[in-house]
């Protein structure tokens, strides 16, 4: 490969030869040779051991710091006090009334919101005009900070369970609507064509194609919705309520009972985890049911 031949060859048509000769003019950059990065997986026990270790270290440091005074025990409380409060919370207070109140408003709001939202989303299949008309309202309601309306909801629905359910519903309904509508829009037009070629009515297409097709979409929001419903219920309790873990947290904070705040948050988290796991299980069962 020499440079001299370039002027002769150029123009004759062997562009490739020219390019090759030219590339000889620039030296090749030295390449860095690397090995494929490989990650080694630790055994499960090692992972769990480290996880527990971190937890113990945090609690230990917290306790130590509060005892020694370099963590302000008044603002942050300390693990031993929290544990003591936890015992009192369950033995003396009306813990179970609060838990069941929050649990009920969450579940009822979740069920109403998810069902109504899915039905609303599915209803958009029936008419493109209706869907187009509803579109801006749906988007408005989605972008609206629903929690900002919570005081109004309390005024309308009162201090009891109904207002918490209403807020939980408001938070969940829109997610279900939008997701189910996304499912509706994803229905294969050819699939609809097939149904119509078999002489199907719109109701038949809806029941035998659209609903089963959108079911996985509806199911996929269950886990998101359970979290949102809980948020709605707790915020409702923050604003005005006579029961519930949210009210307990607010009350404890206002009376500087920081240990009780932690206890209520802990119980609330446990409730959230239990509901999340249950819904995840429900989701996997339903998914198997719809075969997708």
């Amino acid at each position: 490969m020499t440079v001299q031949e370039t002027p002769h060859v150029a123009g004759v048509g062997s562009g490739r030869e020219t390019a090759r000769s030219q590339s000889a003019q620039w030296p090749r950059p030295a390449k860095t040779v690397r090995r494929l990065p490989v990650q080694k997986d630790w055994p499960l026990w090692a992972i769990v051991a480290v996880q527990i270790g971190i937890l113990v270290a945090i609690i230990g440091l917290w306790q130590l710091g509060a005892d020694d005074g370099w963590i302000d025990g008044f603002f942050w409380s300390k693990p031993s006090a929290i544990f003591a409060t936890l015992i009192t919370f369950f033995t003396e207070g009306d813990a179970f009334t609060d838990i069941s109140f929050t649990f009920r408003s969450t579940i009822i709001g979740f069920v109403i919101g998810t069902t109504a939202g899915s039905m609303l989303g599915l209803s958009f299949w029936w008419s493109r005009n209706y869907a187009a008309i509803a579109q801006p309202y749906v988007i408005c309601f989605e972008s609206l900070p629903k929690l900002a309306l919570a005081p109004l909801v309390i005024l309308v629905f009162g201090l009891g369970l109904a207002s918490k359910v209403a807020i939980a519903t408001a938070l969940t309904v829109i997610v279900s609507t939008l997701t189910t509508y996304a499912g509706v829009k994803a229905v294969d037009p050819d699939q609809e064509k097939l149904f119509y070629s078999l002489g199907a009515s719109r109701m038949q297409v809806f029941r035998k194609l659209v609903v089963p097709f959108c079911l996985p979409w509806t199911i996929s929001v269950l886990r998101v919705n359970i979290g949102l419903a809980l948020t709605g219920a707790v915020v409702g309790e923050f604003i005005a309520s006579q029961h519930g873990l949210g009210r307990q947290i607010l009350y404890a904070g206002q009376t500087y009972d920081i240990a009780l705040v932690w206890v209520a948050v802990l119980v609330l988290s446990t409730l959230a985890i239990v509901m999340y796991v249950t819904v995840s299980w429900l989701e996997s069962v339903l998914r198997k049911g719809v075969k997708q």
């Binding site: 070629s197 078999l198 002489g199 089963p212 719809v290």
Partner: protein, 250 residues
């Protein structure tokens, strides 16, 4: 059966007249965009022609659905239904009780190569098997005419040959009138009694070529001079159409 199809708003189709007598196997071949699918959609009642009519057994069937069996390019099996429940879809929509529909479908599934797959979901089936299920669904939707839009287009060459034999078997067993769309000239000639070659801009039929090869046809029929002559004629027409459309574009 006869239909006269015609002119879309942007002239998707020039006036087309196509007469197909009962029990015949007829193919349409032509370049993409020549209106094969448009004709099918009009015949199936999924598209209202701007003018012209569809006549089935002398009765006007323009714009009415459910009169012919229509198999689209994709198999469109419902993933949440078993193969058996997929093939009875047409009967179910027509209001046949589920039990009767299944009882009618089961022996057919077994006889036509889907034995052992009846209660599986479509995701467990190969491409060829899915196409079989889709075709049986079309047949079980008991109509005299069935439209097949490139049913074997996505299959590999060997499966395609098997499916062609299988389709001919079904056709002779059921005695349906079949209209078949394909890109594959050899497939069209091998299967059909008559091949209609189409051209584009606007979509129209340029020539109808009868295939006078005795049935049942052996695969070796594709090597006979008669077959090759038809194939050459089709190729010539399609290449001509291709050049014409290039010139029109330029």
């Amino acid at each position: 059966m006869s239909f006269k199809t015609p002119v879309g708003a942007f002239e998707a189709l020039a006036p087309v007249t196509l007469n197909i007598s009962q029990g015949r196997f007829v193919s349409l071949i032509g370049p993409s965009g020549c209106g094969k699918s448009t004709i099918f959609n009009i015949v199936a009642g999924l598209l209202e022609p701007s003018s012209g009519r569809v006549l089935i057994d002398g009765a006007d069937a323009t714009g009415t659905i459910g009169r012919v069996g229509y198999m689209l390019q994709k198999d469109l099996l419902l993933p949440w239904r078993t193969v058996l429940d997929n093939v009875i879809l047409g009967m179910e929509i027509q209001g046949v009780p589920l039990r009767d529909a299944r009882a009618r479908a089961l022996p057919l599934l077994r006889r036509y190569g889907l034995a052992g797959f009846e209660y599986l979901y479509p995701s467990a089936l190969s491409g060829g098997m899915r196409q079989r299920a889709a075709l049986l669904r079309t047949l079980l939707f008991d109509t005299d005419v069935i439209l097949l839009d490139e049913p074997f287009g996505a299959l590999d060459a060997q499966t395609k040959l098997q499916m062609q034999e299988w389709l001919l078997q079904l056709w002779s067993d059921f005695g349906k009138t079949v209209v078949f769309v394909t890109h594959d000239i050899e497939e069209a000639i091998y299967l059909s009694d008559e091949v209609h070659v189409m051209a584009t801009r606007p979509g129209r039929i340029v020539e109808s070529i009868p295939v006078a090869i005795a049935r049942p046809r052996a695969r070796s029929a594709t090597l006979t001079p008669g077959f090759i002559a038809i194939k050459e004629r089709c190729l010539a027409l399609l290449t001509l159409a291709h050049h014409a459309s290039l010139e029109a574009a330029a």
